[in-house]
Symmetry: C3
Subunit: 439 residues, 3 copies
């Protein structure tokens, strides 16, 4: 095995931890595919598979050419607090930064994928590719630069951070989930509801997905990957090794709380045990706890998650009422709970975990309210950035006439119209020794 | 990267190993969902998804409030060999214990989930939630305390362990699988067979699950997670790094042996290549090797697994004959092979791996038979504990009339009766450009 | 946590890394199952599940008895450059080698599983078991010995390696993918096309698989596992920690490039967004980059993957034209892109990553062309070895009359003919409160 210095071994351990967590986050793409496939109608199953695959691939290309450069590249100009500007095409990228490139790529791809759920079943492939590259290549990287690079104006590691605290967003309630969820809301509003989603009197009709088991599979894969998402955001394990299970436990309790929150809502409002809502609840809890998981005590995970379940349910009702048709409810989930999660830090952050006299949650006295202030500023600014940019992007695609498919294509299904046929070919629908035939 | 002491780096490595294994064990919940969905009839698919999701969530709540406290909390009283009594609600829990809390939670949830398979397709949601909390919060923790806390009367790390050896149950043939499997057997016996499982003459009728691919997916995810289950139970990697691949190899050979055992049974008895049985065989082998995987030579994995395949098949036949209707065959799998796995230690334990002159398997001379004695005592006592408590729990639920759904609800399917509709909505069953309609 | 020497900690870290990567590679079996299930017709779904499960189990047995011994066992004889000859049945195997046994087992099983895709839907179980044991036990181990053991004549770590370089095949374009893919091509040619694949005029008819979502699931699991496949092949992380994300990024870009390559082909030739082809493209890119991922700059991943997408598409066309019917297109994917990936090293290898003045890619001047020469020799010799041996194996099975099922069995479907019934029982096809009945 040979000799190795402690610092070299330490570098290996932290590297293993971060790369592994990045791989888990990448696997969330698989979770999103299965969740989305299950949540759409059968005639659009291949379509959503392609869209998420394109996120992962065009996202990698966009990240390679300029996304990473805008997020983390060195910028010698006055704009450095706003945007990075170096290491394009990984040119001159130091090897020490490779791990961050990979880890952050998986987060960027996640943000983009979230949007897909809101606009699926009626959006053109070409529009999808264009906005996916713009989100992974520019919209997301700028927010990541603000919050997670040490140059960004919202960053906690800036020499002189905002209100001497900087935004607390460990794994990206704002950077990832708000970007994806609010981007999805804007997209769903501009692309318009699916045909048949609202009846003549404006009442919403249920459009259940075609496979609850695929949805469950997707949710469980996402939950699994979320352990990498949240713990990996500690960016190292040596020297802070007890924070890793801390984050893992809060994440677990957040998911549990979210499930209970959504189940409570279903039982009170819908009067039955709604399985799909329970699954969504687990995700709502996970989103809600993503910013705070290293800054709050264990019990707070359960509380923040539970409230997140109700916030998801409320946002879902509100968006449906506003005729924003979001097949995956991504806007309510990632937008609504993302905002809640960022704000929850200002309420629940424990002084013993913050290490900054000026920063603690309102429930601990608030330490002057600065933390809640920073978190509120972060929510407002990120939301504004995403709304404006995504409105421009989706608006331009709409004006160019390349955003939405034709009504007959939509009715026939994207798979029939664009992808050469059904995800489950008709002559393969029934078989028991003899193939089924329609003639 | 900065400086770090070797002991700090070591703590980081072991932490990474255990948290990661815990995450893999958590992912087994996804495996159980997919296996169970595939193994039940289409009309109950959403029901089993909800039940396993509730395990993970209510289980986390129960574990948070008192399960962990009963299993691993410090107990200053005379009852300390029987039960823990501290750190309720994680109050005063030292940060060093966080990793154990998380790792052990994933095991507790596994034990509870196992039971779901035995009583599915006819059990009420409310009964499910009650027993899930009691199992994760009390039945399981007490057994975990006996065997895995260093205070427990069966523990090998007690100052003066039972027969100077203590029970050998590395990853929980007794603690996890017997608790789940025997609990399931008791539950299935009390809740009674599904309508239509036995004909008028008492003959069992096949009730195949609705999707073999989902079953295969579940089994492969479980096998994947089992590497975390077994290797993680070493509770550290530094200083015992060659034991990790040892355990991984024995686990692999155990699964292979179990598959071969069940395939042999199918070919001899059923005269065809039964795929579902082969999949069950892999799991039977994995369960069988869970106690012994660090105590036996590599070849023994193959042998113990192969015998486990036959034991599963035999138990499965016996339970069917006894009219205990277990849709997932969880009782035969986890109960039968769990007992076998615990006992197998007494037969196959290699002196070179035990490090205790008094402890070795019968095939190596037996070292006086003490080890086989301890393992036998463990089987008997754990079985008795589980049978009595689960009979009380399920019996009480039965007497209260909240255990089993009404016959018409059962015939209609749980999804229709309780969950607002089918897992695969009917108008989504066939699609090829045009949605299928029943009118 | 107590004391531990740096060398002991280092051993723990590298062990964790390699075992974990092995577990990820094992999980690729799950990916292959789901991809294959989706790609075959409904009537053969259980059959392919069984076949891949048998790979994992009979493969483990064959590897245990002699595969490992032929690949990595010490051989005191003159044949040592050609084959290993020690440690049969793991007899006398040093504990330090356990990790390699496990890691390499997962690779051996992968090679064998690849073949299954080419011959599925018409091959007998017994033939499958025989060739699976021969491939995992002999055909694959010999190639692994040549390239990856330090005794092998193609190995780069031989005292005097071929052309003073030795074959560069980090994770097995040649050792794993060519063995599997070319083996599959030979098998598909000898077993002959499925009934109905070609019409009376010899024109190929499409035989789409029954579930695109299962294919997507399989591909994403494979991509996930591929990070273990490629990074784990570095065989350690301490001291080369920045190579791990290097490999992960090149792998990501390879997959992205492959997807783009196949999408380009589909748009140009088929004139629609072919989702299945895009999924195959991701895998084609991953195969293509498997040999070179530690020897090329990041951008080269994108280029090699993109070309790989076209090579897959071309090989697929060619094999169909040659009437070699390969349901999973495993021959084009793993055979074609495996050869391309091995050759690509000779074109793209970066001098700064090779550490050998004689070895660099043609695009960097070629350093005398020795590297391209070694890679070309490797391709030719491995292809010849696999073609000859697999022709003998499949030819013998054919002559013995145990290779292919009877035409009526094939038409009825393997599940009906051999496995006791359909993967989705007919009376479970439709349910909405009331089970569907065919009478």
């Amino acid at each position: 095995e040979g000799l190795a210095s402690p610092s070299s071994i330490r570098a290996g351990v932290d590297m293993l931890f971060i790369v592994l967590c990045g791989v888990l986050v990448f696997f969330m793409q698989c979770g999103f595919i299965m969740l989305s496939v299950g949540a759409v109608r059968r005639k659009n199953a291949k379509n959503i598979i392609l869209y998420i695959l394109l996120d992962a691939t065009f996202g990698a290309v966009a990240w390679f050419f300029f996304g990473w450069a805008f997020a983390y590249g060195p910028n010698p100009n006055a704009s450095s607090k706003f945007i990075g500007a170096g290491w394009f095409v990984t040119y001159n990228l130091p090897k020490e930064e490779y791990v961050n490139w990979f880890f952050q790529y998986t987060f960027a791809a996640t943000a983009t994928t979230i949007i897909s759920g809101s606009i699926i079943e009626r959006t053109k492939v070409i529009a999808y590719i264009i906005y996916a590259m713009l989100v992974t290549g520019f919209v997301y990287p700028v927010v990541a630069h603000w919050v997670w690079s040490c140059d960004g104006w919202l960053s906690a590691c800036l020499d002189s951070p905002l209100l001497e605290i900087g935004l607390v967003d460990l794994a990206g309630c704002g950077v990832v989930h708000m970007v994806g969820g609010i981007g999805g809301a804007v997209g769903a509003a501009i692309v318009g509801p699916r045909i048949g989603r609202y009846d003549a009197s404006g009442r919403a009709l249920a459009m259940p997905g075609h496979s609850a088991p695929f949805m469950a599979l997707g949710v469980m894969i996402l939950w699994f990957g979320w352990y990498g998402f949240n713990t990996g955001s500690l960016l190292g394990i040596v020297g802070q090794e007890t924070m890793v299970p801390h984050v893992a436990i809060v994440t677990t309790l957040g998911a549990a709380g979210g499930t209970l929150g959504c189940l409570s809502y279903s039982l009170l409002v819908e009067k039955h045990w709604n399985v799909v809502n329970a699954l969504n609840g687990a995700l709502a809890g996970l989103v809600s706890i993503t910013a705070a998981c290293a800054s709050v005590e264990l019990w707070a995970g359960l509380v923040i998650g539970y409230i997140g379940g109700w916030i998801f349910s409320g946002c879902s009702w509100l968006l449906t009422y506003m005729k924003i048709d979001d097949p995956l409810e991504a806007a309510a989930m990632h937008g609504g709970c993302g905002m809640w999660g960022l704000w929850a830090v200002g309420w629940f952050a424990s002084p013993s975990l913050m290490g900054n006299d000026r920063a603690c949650g309102v429930f601990y006295g608030g330490c002057g309210g600065w933390l809640l202030g920073v978190q509120t500023i972060g929510i407002v600014v990120i939301a504004a950035w995403v709304i404006v940019l995504m409105a421009v992007i989706f608006g331009a695609l709409h004006l160019m006439g390349i955003l939405r498919v034709a009504p007959d294509e939509e009715k026939a299904g994207m798979d029939h119209s664009y992808h050469g046929g059904d995800a489950y070919p008709k002559d393969q629908q029934v078989a028991d020794g003899e193939p089924f035939t329609t003639t």
